[in-house]
């Protein structure tokens, strides 16, 4: 009890310095959250993009003045083409009180692409259905589980019944190409979406206008051309010559490889930035803490003179650090609730990991100097400390 009391006194005596210390740490935690989210985002994009089909695959980003169906038929007429993969993207729909994307994959995509699932099966495990409910793979933020049957409200006023056969792994990432897939402009967001989604087989969905593109809306559609295995790489120039008129054509391999290189560079750069920032933040925090410890040294010397032993001194320092850690951690939790730590960008597991890192960071910042201070004090003899005390005055 006496140790807690003395610790509180020490903290209160230097309330301004302690307030600055806590704010320094909080600000660095806010910055750390942004860097953490950025790194995790890059890593997620890497995972998602590397799930895309690459072997014998080229992407054709069709100019907006061409009809996608027409171009698809032209491509399919080529003898080197095995199939064309296409994603039909619908308007926002409502399901289970969540507004989400609707993505209908054709057979070409379903057979070549399967995103990581946290439960259930992919659409390729089901042939066309014959029942009432359409098999669907949904994202985890739809709050549905495998086996659930529910209604989907479409933008044209129709409804469809779906049965959930699979749940995408968190965080939500799936093929949803809506931008240009040329190397210069290729980003993960050109082909990947993170919004809540219902994914179905196109042929299961039936007649609906939700996948039709309004005439006055110029939109770049990308299709995936899956070449036969005997179509050699040297045919790429032939394909370019043949299909350039319809849009930008790029081998998927080079797209993904370029993306991987760029993203790994970004991850490396962001990680270095993370480490540098952490060191700078640590320097500021530790300097403040060292100054406080030097001031506390004088006070501890007086306490030792009056009968405090080393164990009690250590207990006081532990209490002081403990109070600071608890207080700063509580403020971090409040900052999280206020949206300052970008928790909405993290999965629950990552948020837990992030808070674990934050706790470790806070504990290391506060205890590093405290431990050094106590060890130094215990090694010095009391009469030496008293002489310093006398000289210091």
């Amino acid at each position: 009890m006496a140790s807690v009391l003395i610790a509180i006194k020490l903290l209160w005596k230097r309330k301004l310095a302690n307030f600055v210390l806590v704010i320094q740490i909080l600000l660095s935690i806010i910055m750390l959250a942004q860097v953490f989210v950025a790194i995790e985002d890059y890593r997620d994009n890497l995972r998602a993009v590397n799930e895309l089909p690459v072997n014998n695959t080229v992407v054709l980003s069709i100019f907006d003045y061409y009809d996608t169906e027409y171009v698809t038929q032209q491509v399919l007429s080529s003898p080197q083409v095995e199939s064309v993969g296409r994603v039909y993207m619908g308007d926002i729909v409502f399901c289970n009180n969540v507004s989400c994307n609707l993505a209908a994959y054709n057979e070409g995509i379903i057979s070549r692409y399967s995103p990581e699932l946290q439960s259930g099966s992919w659409l390729s495990d089901y042939s066309s259905f014959s029942g009432n409910a359409i098999p669907a793979v949904v994202s985890s933020d739809m709050k549905l589980k495998v086996g659930d049957v529910t209604d989907v409200s479409l933008s044209d006023g129709q409804t469809r019944k779906i049965t959930v056969i699979g749940i995408l792994k968190e965080p939500t990432q799936y093929l949803y190409p809506w931008g240009s897939a040329s190397p210069e402009y290729f980003t993960a967001s050109s082909v990947i979406s993170q919004k809540p989604v219902i994914i179905v087989r196109y042929t299961d969905f039936g007649e609906t206008s939700v996948f039709e593109t309004p005439m006055d809306v110029p939109i770049t559609t990308s299709i995936f051309i899956f070449l036969k295995s005997d179509a050699a790489d040297t045919n790429m120039d032939t394909f370019r010559t043949e299909w350039n008129k319809y849009g930008e054509i790029t081998p998927m391999q080079s797209l993904v490889s370029t993306f991987n290189t760029n993203t790994n560079t970004m991850i490396g750069g962001t990680t270095i930035m993370f480490v540098v920032f952490l060191l700078l933040a640590a320097t500021g925090v530790l300097s403040n803490n060292v100054i406080q410890s030097l001031r506390n040294r004088r006070q501890f010397t007086v306490y030792y003179l009056l009968g405090m032993d080393w164990k009690k001194g250590a207990a006081v320092e532990v209490c002081r650090v403990g109070i600071l850690v608890i207080f700063t951690m509580a403020l971090s939790l409040i900052a999280g609730k206020l949206g300052l730590l970008m928790l909405e960008w993290m999965t629950p597991a990552r948020a837990f990991l992030f808070y674990g890192l934050v706790f470790l960071y806070i504990v290391v910042m506060f205890t590093a100097v405290g431990a050094g201070f106590m060890i130094k004090l215990m090694r010095e003899d009391l009469s030496g400390l008293l002489k310093d005390l006398q000289q210091g005055e």
């Binding site: 009890m1 006496a2 009391l5 003395i6 005596k13 006070q299 010397t301 007086v302 306490y303 030792y304 003179l305 009056l306 009968g307 405090m308 032993d309 080393w310 164990k311 009690k312 003899d381 009391l382 009469s383 008293l386 002489k387 005390l389 006398q390 005055e393």
Partner: protein
Amino acid sequence: MLIELIGIEKTYITRRDGVPLKALNGINLTIKKGEMVAIKGSSGAGKSTLLHIIGCLDKPTSGIYKLDGADVSKESSAKLSKIRNKKFGFVMQHFALVEEDNALQNVGIPLLFAKTPISQIDTLAMEQLRQLSIENLAKQRVSKLSGGEKQRVAIARALINQPEVILADEPTGALDSENSTMILKIFKALNAQGKTIIIVTHEDFVANACDRIITISDGRIK
């Protein structure tokens, strides 16, 4: 015999060159209960080192130190802390007070380590200030007090646990003559009440007011 030092030696290893420095060289000393003793000597003679060993602030390198008949020369740090808290009161040249606290808080600090119930600390501290007629300083921050007032607060703190021995290291060194005389009067009054007072000083008027003067030179008692 309250304090008995037999063959006490204290050697320091200096940080700069690692050469051992013998601060005390075979000290034999006895101090009886109720004595008022001055320890005199030039700078570096070993006065403060001797006082620190007597006050259990430091351990001798060799020799025996008996306090109230018990050998404390080899006691643990924790035990010495308890002895310091209960048996000794310290009055230092530059007061050794916590400047940011008020007088009442400073006087109450030894009670914290004596495990006095927290609810009683302020009351006991106030009573001690009253005994020295400085209760008006209770709520004043120590940093705002004069030298004489600070030293009186330090004496009140030294007395709070009713110690048998008061150890004073140059208690008048930072005071003017008027305050020095006042502090010396307080020590004489405490001695008259039966307290053992040991004062390190190089001021003759302080030494001459004591029952006995011990002169130390080069770590030895002359």
